[in-house]
């Protein structure tokens, strides 16, 4: 045997890394964009594109949180109601207690991370299956949101700059031709940051490693429980960001909202090519997945397709995406 190392060609790497699903998702997005632009002249208007992006921001951020957890081989059903809970917490801090905006932001993200920490502890230390642990958290947080808010929306009338968080445009101030809302900017910056974390930091490495073979990681002397808790906490903190975005856009914390968002988030993750079995996935794929969902909903709405049917189409897309992934895997053998 010689010591010459056979270099994997970039093409092979591409095949191996599951990038094909990402490519497929990206191609589907392009096809959708072309289809709707031809079908309706209103579709490609700047204002409509911005509306699509704005609609993606909340689901996109939640999907980023869900991606982290799913790559570890887990699942987080509580992202939607955690988002609502952090929005309510922000409302309590800003409106009930009358504190300044930065405290509201810190409280929402901090509370999100704390709840994620609890989920992570239930899963890693008490060995409760992620599905059950986060199902419990989902209901607990939904209940607590209603209890704390007195079942009524909390309005941010004392914090006039609150809607700016999501709907203002920092980019628009610098480049007037590009009125990108802050919510979208936050989504993109967060996506870049988490993508970097996943690919370049120890936390990211263990995220993939845990989903790939947790026992092997444990036998390598890594504190798997600790890292798992950290990942759930990070995902929780990201849900806090989503809570800020949605309450800012509605200028109120709606305690009854949130249920169902977790499914949209998981759908975006799956469409983006992240494996529910864990070990593989990417933030870029998830963002594309989230965009596909909003483009589809927006386009169908413009074409005056009834909302009921939009939901049906989303379901079909999820099944098609996963089936395409299965086909690819089977071919790869």
């Amino acid at each position: 045997m010689t010591a010459t190392v056979p270099a994997a060609s970039p093409l092979n790497r591409l095949k191996a890394s599951g990038a094909q699903q990402k490519l497929l998702a990206f191609a589907s997005l392009i096809v959708l964009l072309i289809f709707f632009s031809i079908a309706s002249e209103n579709f490609l208007q700047t204002s409509n594109i911005i509306a699509i992006l704005q609609a993606t921001s909340v689901n996109g951020v939640l999907a980023i949180a869900a991606t982290l957890v799913i790559i570890t081989g887990g699942i987080d059903l509580s992202v939607g109601t955690l988002m609502t809970f952090t929005a309510v917490v922000s409302g309590v801090v800003l409106t009930f207690w009358g504190m300044a905006l930065p405290f509201g932001i810190l409280a929402a993200i901090g509370m999100g991370a704390f709840c994620g920490l609890i989920s992570g502890t239930l899963i890693a230390r008490m060995k409760i299956p992620p599905f059950i642990a986060t199902l419990g958290m989902m209901l607990i947080l939904k209940g607590l949101s209603l209890v704390i808010s007195g079942t009524k929306p909390i309005y941010f009338n004392d914090t006039p700059s609150y809607p700016e968080l999501s709907t203002g445009s920092l980019v628009g101030k610098l480049i007037p031709a590009l009125p990108l809302p802050n919510g979208v900017l936050i989504l993109f910056l967060l996506a870049l940051f988490i993508s970097w974390v996943l690919n370049r930091t120890v936390l990211g490495r263990y995220t993939f490693a845990l989903g790939s073979n947790e026992e092997a990681v444990r036998l390598s002397g890594v504190n798997t429980d600790g890292w798992k808790i950290a990942i759930y906490a990070l995902a929780g903190g990201i849900c806090g960001i989503a809570g800020l975005l949605i309450s800012s856009r509605l200028n109120s914390a709606q305690p009854a909202l949130g249920l169902g968002y977790e499914l949209d988030a998981i759908a975006a993750v799956v469409i983006g090519g992240t494996s529910l079995a864990g070990g593989r996935g990417s933030i870029l794929g998830t963002i594309i997945g989230a965009l596909i969902m909003s483009v589809l909903l927006n386009g169908l709405r413009i074409l005056s397709v009834a909302q009921e049917w939009q939901t049906v189409v989303t379901g079909l897309i999820i099944i098609a995406a996963v089936y395409a992934d299965m086909l690819r895997r089977r071919r790869a053998g």
Binding site: A3, T201, V202, F208, N213, V217
Partner: protein, 506 residues
């Protein structure tokens, strides 16, 4: 020579099992020390203690003369002890280099990784091992043999002076085994002490310097490999002379041919395989790991697609494309991995036996006649002597031997009269083995046609009326059973490579 490892009086209990009874073991730098014993002898448990996965209940461990407590895998690594587990402990979605340095990634103080250094370090280790593996390849794309090399590289990356290998060749073919041995010899030359756990006698002779034998959780003895006959080691392992009972070969000259296979082909794993199997006959399939025996069985059973070849059952051509077809034709296949393919462990004995024959016990509306099912199940429990408190016992609570009997009952209930047993006694203790053997002989006497695939030559010799030997996908010969055939003769056929095709492949 100073021992690098001295284990003394090691005791370990699990609930209900005294796994290790005051066991001793020592390892010298630069030796390959084989650790042998039957399944359940305690080899893996002892090594898991040495690598910090289990804590001993008693005894002392010295590393380089100093007494140590090995609190966990990390502590073992710190002491220079690396272990390669039987089930490879790799992360298939990560790259080779990422796997090797998991938990010890080169990083700055903010936890940001240095991938360049990671890959370079991995490449350096492979250079040292003289192995060609791309550090950036995803582990899932590598062969099992290459994955094994990654495990070794990982162990070496700790600068391990002690390397434990738990049945490393279980999934390797001959050539891969040779490569592995070359690496082990290289490590030995550099002063690494290697603990080598294996069942394979021929490997022990080839690679090891000393042999320690364990039996039933106890230390039996340590001998030098070069001047100890294999029979002596086997006697140490089983604690008595090998069962000398000779197979009683019935006169089958007038018996009907139950299964005829002609020119079976599937890629490189099954090449032009032809044989006959008569009613009442036990045909043993011998060969080394990867010789294609299981593959032949799977093709006959319809679990894998055949590329060409004919299968005749009771003189009629059988169009077997799926396992359902095979079962309809009366062929049963008892997989070597009972837990995965043979049993629903959480269900009770009754339902496992009836699982694939529920149509016999249900009416048109799909209602199951439980009392009829129970009666049949109890009949099998009695006739096969399945030791279970009742037919309502969950199968996972039975011993390996009794689980195997449940699988047999299941196939008998399907009216299968051609039964293919793949490693029927794997993971079954010595006493239960004899019982399974007796059962197979009885089934043959009742007119069932039986194929037994086994990697244990004594098992093949003891059971088979005829012995088919395979090597590299080809049937290299069919030998008569009984005392006329020796292990040497089987081994000769099992290693009889097809030089022509070998030349064409390399």
């Amino acid at each position: 020579m100073n021992p690098v490892i001295q284990m003394h009086g090691i005791d370990k209990r699990f609930p209900g099992v005294h796994a290790l009874k005051s066991v001793q073991f020592d390892l010298i730098a630069g030796e390959v020390h084989a650790l042998m014993g039957e399944n359940g002898a305690g080899k893996s448990t002892l090594m898991k203690i040495l690598s910090g996965i289990y804590q001993p209940d008693g005894g002392t461990i010295r590393v380089n003369g100093a007494e140590v407590r090995i609190a966990g895998p990390r502590a073992a690594q710190g002491l220079g002890i690396g272990i390669i587990h039987q089930e490879l402990a790799l992360m298939p979605d990560l790259t080779v280099a990422q796997n090797i340095f998991i938990g010890r990634e080169p990083k700055n103080r903010f936890g940001v990784l240095n991938e360049g250094k990671l890959n370079a370090d991995a490449a350096a280790i492979f250079q040292q091992m003289k192995v060609a593996i791309d550090p950036q390849a995803e582990v899932r794309t590598l062969t099992i043999a290459k994955q094994q090399m990654v495990e070794i590289a990982k162990a070496l990356s700790f600068r391990s002076s002690i390397l434990i290998m738990d049945e490393p060749t279980a999934a390797l073919n001959d050539r891969e085994t040779d490569e592995l041995f070359a690496i082990i010899r290289g490590l030995r030359g550099e002063g690494v002490g290697v603990v080598y756990i294996s069942h394979k006698m021929d490997e022990i002779r080839r690679i090891s310097d000393r042999v320690t034998v364990m039996r039933d959780g106890a230390y039996v003895g340590t001998v030098t490999a070069a001047d100890t006959p294999i029979e002596t080691i086997i006697n140490m392992m089983v604690g008595r002379d090998l069962d000398q009972s000779v197979v009683d070969i019935p006169d089958l000259s007038g018996a009907e041919v139950a299964l005829r296979v002609q020119g079976l082909n599937r890629g490189r794993v099954v090449r032009d395989v032809s044989f006959d199997l008569k009613k009442g006959e036990i045909l043993g399939f011998a060969g080394l790991m990867g010789a294609g025996r299981t593959e032949v069985a799977r093709v006959i059973f319809g679990a894998d697609k055949r590329e060409s070849g004919e299968i005749e059952v009771h003189g009629r051509a059988a169009a077997i494309r799926t396992p359902q077809d095979a079962v309809k034709a009366g062929i049963g296949y008892l997989s070597e991995d009972r837990k995965h393919f043979g049993l629903a462990l959480g269900l009770d004995v009754r339902n496992n036996i009836g699982l694939t024959a529920l149509d016999k016990f249900s009416d048109r509306a799909g209602r199951v006649n439980d009392s009829a099912l129970a009666k049949v199940a109890r009949d099998y429990i009695e006739s096969l002597a399945i030791r279970t408190p009742s037919d309502k016992q969950e199968v996972r609570l039975l011993s390996g031997g009794n689980q195997q009997k449940v699988v047999i009952a299941k196939w008998l209930l399907r009216d299968c009269d051609i039964l293919i047993f793949d490693e029927p006694t794997r993971g079954i203790d010595v006493g239960a083995k004899a019982e399974i053997y007796r059962l197979l002989v009885d089934l043959a006497a009742q007119g069932k046609a039986i194929i037994v695939i086994s990697s244990e030559l004594p098992e093949v010799l003891r059971l088979s009326h005829r012995i088919a030997v395979m090597c590299e996908g080809r049937l290299t010969g069919i030998l008569p059973g009984g005392p006329a055939t020796s292990q040497t003769e089987i081994m000769r056929l099992a290693t009889q490579r097809d030089m022509a095709s070998e030349g064409a492949l390399t």
